[in-house]
């Protein structure tokens, strides 16, 4: 690890100014991803600006019925928040599916959204990786692809995004609130993450020095009937092979509205708009759920080591929708 300066941010504006003015500076949340990368040589910032104690540590109602989640709220506190648990259970459950309790007690909302891929080659500086070192090549495409993408990948990068939280937030139409040197902007989560294309170096549309200060969840009454299911190589404390976040609005035996996103299948949380279209107005039945899954996965392009993900994603979505359809209304 190279030597670095550490600065505990006094306020958001000075944190932004400090990082924006120095290309080698980075924000520090709890460090559970960034410090790991510094140990591995994947990241080597010369200045860390600690934003984990800025006063963005609350979950508060928004006018209009939504909820604002501060960027410094710890993953465990967010998961246990009564509003989240009753009105947006998919978000709570997604958080609880991630990492371990002793990591969630530290990890921040902002840091969680900006954690980087767990692609083994990205984390190993001795191997080529376009995301870590643009132009060096992709070691994964012809290598170990069990955890890699089946949707939206490019010949430059087939990595997946590892955050569980981001999948639930994407399904439920959340917006990221960002502060930069030129002021605040709001970015729908659906537009926040990028597909790899020719430039897998960048995970998101954020500019250097832009600070996440909050995430807003809109008022979505039927999100009370939402959940998150994660399929992994061991029962707990492992990243997703495939995951599904979904919310279902049901009436008189049919689906009135739905929100669906997949995790573990793409460079970003994959909002399943095609599946949602099929679901809207469809009768509640396994056939409808299967059709929805197939509509979304028709474009899947699995790699040699992850063909299993296509049926796994399909079956997981069907199982989640079936579970939600049977859930008692709240």
């Amino acid at each position: 690890m190279i030597p670095f300066e550490y600065l505990r941010a006094e306020d958001a504006a000075s944190a932004v100014a400090a990082v924006a003015s120095r290309p080698t500076a980075a924000f520090l949340g709890a460090g559970t991803n960034l410090v790991d990368h510094m140990k591995l040589g994947v990241a080597s910032p010369e200045l860390l600006v600690d934003v984990s104690r800025l006063p963005f540590d609350e979950v508060e109602p928004l006018p209009g019925g939504g909820v604002r989640i501060g960027a410094a709220v710890r993953n465990s506190d967010l998961a246990a928040d009564p509003i989240l648990r009753s009105r947006y259970p998919a978000v709570s459950r997604a958080l609880l599916a991630g990492a371990s309790a002793q990591l969630r007690n530290l990890a921040t909302t902002g840091g969680n959204l900006l954690q980087r891929t767990r692609c083994v080659y990205f984390q190993d500086v001795t191997t080529p990786c376009n995301k870590r070192e643009p132009g060096s090549g992709c070691s994964a495409i012809d290598g170990y692809t069990r955890y890699h993408a089946i949707l939206g990948a490019s010949s430059a990068c087939v990595a997946t995004h590892p955050s569980d939280l981001a999948v639930a937030l994407t399904a439920l139409d959340a917006t990221v609130v960002v502060l930069g040197v030129h002021g605040e902007r709001q970015i729908p989560l659906a537009d926040f993450y990028r597909l790899p294309g020719d430039d897998p170096h960048r995970d998101t549309v954020l500019e250097h020095g832009e600070l996440i200060i909050a995430v807003d969840l809109p008022d979505l009454p039927f999100a009370a009937r939402s959940t998150y299911r994660k399929v992994r190589d061991r029962a707990s404390y492992a990243f997703a092979l495939v995951s599904v976040a979904a919310a279902l609005d049901v009436a008189d035996g049919s689906v009135r509205d739905a929100r669906v996103a997949f995790g573990g299948v793409a460079h970003k949380p994959w909002r399943a708009t095609r599946a949602e279209e099929v679901l809207r107005g469809a009768p509640i039945s396994d056939e409808s759920f299967l059709q929805a899954a197939e509509a979304e996965l028709a474009g899947a392009r699995p790699l040699a080591g992850n063909e299993f993900k296509v049926p796994m994603a399909r079956n997981t979505l069907v199982a989640v929708l079936r579970e939600l359809a049977q859930e008692e209304a709240r």
């Binding site: 550490y6 520090l28 460090g31 860390l48 246990a80 459950r93 371990s100 002793q102």
Partner: protein
């Protein structure tokens, strides 16, 4: 970059100078000689370095010491009960909740933190209804303790020890 910090460790204020690169785990072990926080993986993956940090269980191998100036830390060594072992440590002894013992201090701190989380009504991934209160059955114990790996595989007895304390 050297920085002067203070940590309240197992009941005592300790002042030290650390390089900004020093993790909380290395500060405890290498600088303060507090050996009950263990280094397993050094990458957040095993839970051996778990302590109670300002009252909550936390891994220390990815935490920078400089970011925790002024923090209160309790390691397994500091978890005592008027000179007697803490009830959780005692239960690990009674149930053979270990073989080599390397993961044990982290397991014990984690179990203490976990029981507090349950008391506070925090759900886990396997809690059926997130809006209701939690019943700490074996499935819940296993899920909530999944951040602590035991290479000796003493899991069955670890669950038994925790089940007894929770009763």
């Amino acid at each position: 970059m050297d920085v002067r910090i203070q940590l309240h460790v197992d009941g005592e204020w300790r002042a030290l100078t650390v390089d900004t690169r020093t993790t909380l785990l290395d500060a405890l072990r290498d600088r303060l000689g507090v050996m009950s926080a263990k280094k397993g993986c050094d990458h957040g993956q095993c839970g051996a370095c778990t302590v109670l940090l300002d009252g909550r269980r936390a891994t220390t191998c990815l935490a920078l010491a400089v970011a925790y100036d002024g923090a209160e830390i309790t390691t397994a060594q500091g978890l005592t009960n008027g000179g007697m072992p803490h009830p959780v440590s005692q239960a690990f002894l009674d149930h053979d909740g270990f073989q080599c013992g390397y993961c044990t201090p982290g397991q014990v701190c984690s179990a203490v933190g976990m029981l507090d989380e349950v008391k506070a009504g925090q759900p886990s991934y396997v809690t059926r209804d997130l809006a209701r209160s939690v019943e700490l059955n074996d499935e819940e114990i296993r899920e909530r303790m999944s951040g602590n790996l035991c290479r000796c595989g003493a899991y069955v007895n670890i669950v038994a020890a925790i089940r007894e304390v929770a009763r």
